[in-house]
């Protein structure tokens, strides 16, 4: 984990048992933790304690999570990860568009949440002087020189392929919505046609994945978008 030990995380969740394990999980991994059991309290704590990261539950008793997120976003760009119960894609997309950095769906594992938190923090605190190379497994994307190498040898991408990889690499570990990708890569009518994106992803996978049929770097988040994975898991498929 590349977390700075002083990072303060704010947990906004009405369930004490969820807060309890989140606190344990974050503290064990070097975070300091403050808790809030509803949106109003959460927004207050966010103002006074200026946390480095906010974990926001969607089902709060006083305010819907998405509304709490919007209020928070009106004055702060602190990284926010949303905890959602249902796997409703539309809801996820909406939250990402209104400023959430990522989401996890309950029930989730601590490792998954930590990875997302890590990615969100890294993106937030990345300085101009930091190494502009994003490395994921065998893949290295140099955002400054706009070059890509796989197992230390340069590979050639088309302009659109590179653009796609560039955006994902800038958000490494975080999900990027279809909409955002389409708008960044295409112009005109094509910006609304997800088929272009699907085909482009296929082509990019052919070039960067060991097995394009079982991608491990460029991950599909069904109904939401794509993610450049920052922690590689062993494959379940032989």
């Amino acid at each position: 984990m590349m977390t700075k030990p002083s990072n303060l995380v704010l947990l906004i969740d009405d369930e004490p048992k969820i807060r309890r394990f989140l606190r344990a999980g974050f503290e064990i991994h070097g975070f300091s933790v403050v808790e809030a059991e509803n949106a109003a309290e959460g927004l207050k704590v966010a103002t006074f304690n200026s946390p480095d990261l906010v974990i926001l539950d969607l089902g709060l008793p006083d305010l819907h999570g998405s509304e709490a997120l919007e209020r928070l976003r009106s004055w702060s760009n602190v990284p926010v990860i949303v905890l959602s119960v249902e796997s409703d894609e539309d809801e996820k997309v909406r939250l990402l568009q209104s400023g959430a950095d990522d989401y996890v769906v309950k029930p989730f594992g601590m490792a998954e949440l930590l990875a997302r938190s890590d990615a969100a923090l890294r993106r937030y605190f990345k300085s101009a002087t930091e190494n502009p190379v994003v490395t994921v497994g065998p893949l290295a994307v140099d955002l400054a020189s706009r070059t890509v190498s796989l197992n230390n040898s340069r590979i050639k991408l088309t302009r659109k392929e590179y653009r796609l990889l560039h955006i994902l690499a800038m958000h490494v570990g975080l999900v990027v919505t279809h909409d955002q990708l389409l708008k960044d890569i295409w112009t005109g009518n094509q910006r609304d046609n997800i088929q272009y994106l699907r085909i482009l992803v296929r082509k990019l996978r052919q070039k960067i994945e060991t097995d394009p049929n079982q991608p491990r770097l460029l991950i599909t988040e069904s109904g939401v978008g794509y993610r450049l994975e920052n922690r590689l898991e062993p494959s379940v498929v032989d």
Binding site: A24, E112, R159, I194, N213, S222, V236
Partner: protein, 513 residues
Amino acid sequence: MADDPSSFTMRIDVLPLALSAGSIGLVTAVLLVLDSMVAASLIPIAYLIPIIFAAARWGIWASTLASLTAIATSDFFFFEPIYSFRVDNPQEAVDLLLFLVVALATSNLASRLRRETERSHQRERDIQHLYEFSKRLAACFTVSDLIDAIRYYLAHTLGPRAALFVASTHGNFESMPESAPTPPAVLEAVAEMMARVGATGRSVVNTPSQDIWLLRAISSETVVHGVIAINVGHGSRDTIKSRTRRIEGILEEVSLTLQRLDIGKAMDDARLHLQAELLRDAFHGTLSHELCSPLAAIQGSVSVIDTMPAVRDDERLRSLTEAISDEVTHLDGHIRNLLNATRVTAGGLTPRLEWSDPRDIVNAAVKGRARRLAAHRVENAFGDDLPLLNVDSGLIEEACGQLLENAAKYSPSGSTIAVRTRHDRGRVVISIVDQGVGITPDDQRHIGRKSFRSQRHQASIPGSGLGFWIASTFVRAHSGSIEITSRGKGLGTTASVLLPALQTSDLATIDDD
């Protein structure tokens, strides 16, 4: 109260004629006794009494006969020459003729009055019956109540002249027990009317007896509930008209009641639907909150413990945390199945279509069931020319996941589960091939039914039987299908999801730059 069919014919009964003739005889006898006291000119007037009586009682034929008899007897007994039909005095002949005219005119008027009275009595009875009928109809709550009311009405007003046919469960129809015996031609017509909605009425002539049968359908907008058949006999046009009017009267009441029942049924349906909706919402709320959040807490907590080096490095402790995790995943799967089932039963399944890569769907399904597949070797192969699918990838992923879970459940640990995705004649086929217990022809018949589980495994393998049903419902919502094949018991099963691959614009060749 029931009318006899024969009264519609122009039959003249002998008894009224004899009685009217007899009454003239009686009056003659009385006059003969009082002969000296009654003036001859008043005698014909005395005869008017039995004539009017006969007209009012027995009708025009009896009174005409009475008039003729009266004129003959008065001539014979009271006009000179007595005991002869001859009339010598011309004045007397004129008197007798005048009397005959008056007698005939009077009897005609009286008998007409009688008919009118009878008709108005009949109308009164009809109205009374209709009134009782509509009172019964008002108390109808179901179509079978309605049929009972019609039965009662027909039996009490038309008796053996009417037959009622009611649609029975298996598209057939049956006649009510007290119905009139119906000739084959009528039965045929009834069958035709039962078969299609929209035919409201017709009339059939029964050739042997020349009887006319009126047929009327009792139907709402979508269903024929029954047919009323009434024998109106073969009387005059008026009789048939009046019969028809009566039947129309019944039918009008019936159709109003049917409309009311339809509205009532719609309201009941709506109420039921609303209740189901409320229940489902409550169920959703309860499931997602009361069950999902403790599960999330357990899963989260165990995952925190799992990250501790002390636990990670101890094989025994790690196997415990993994077991907890597995059970949570398992429970979560059950809850998701229940949620999916309520979603499907609610009819609220509207796929959220989006162009997706079948590889992504299958990979996500395999990854999502990774823990359940851990004991098996999974081979995942894709054809080279896979088109994009315009589907709700979440639903198809869930369907594939259910089939994968079944494959894992019904095949031995260590065996191979092969997942093959290919493009085949305009369809994308995702096949999940296991080396498990296989499927018997008997299972094959029942598979796909909600909650079906083969008898062979109910004791040995846990499950709700919802999985396959959910999978097939999700796939069907995309105009696809699931095929289950097996070479037999113990020889493995192949479950294939077939999805139509729509023609996409030629995107594969798009220029990247």
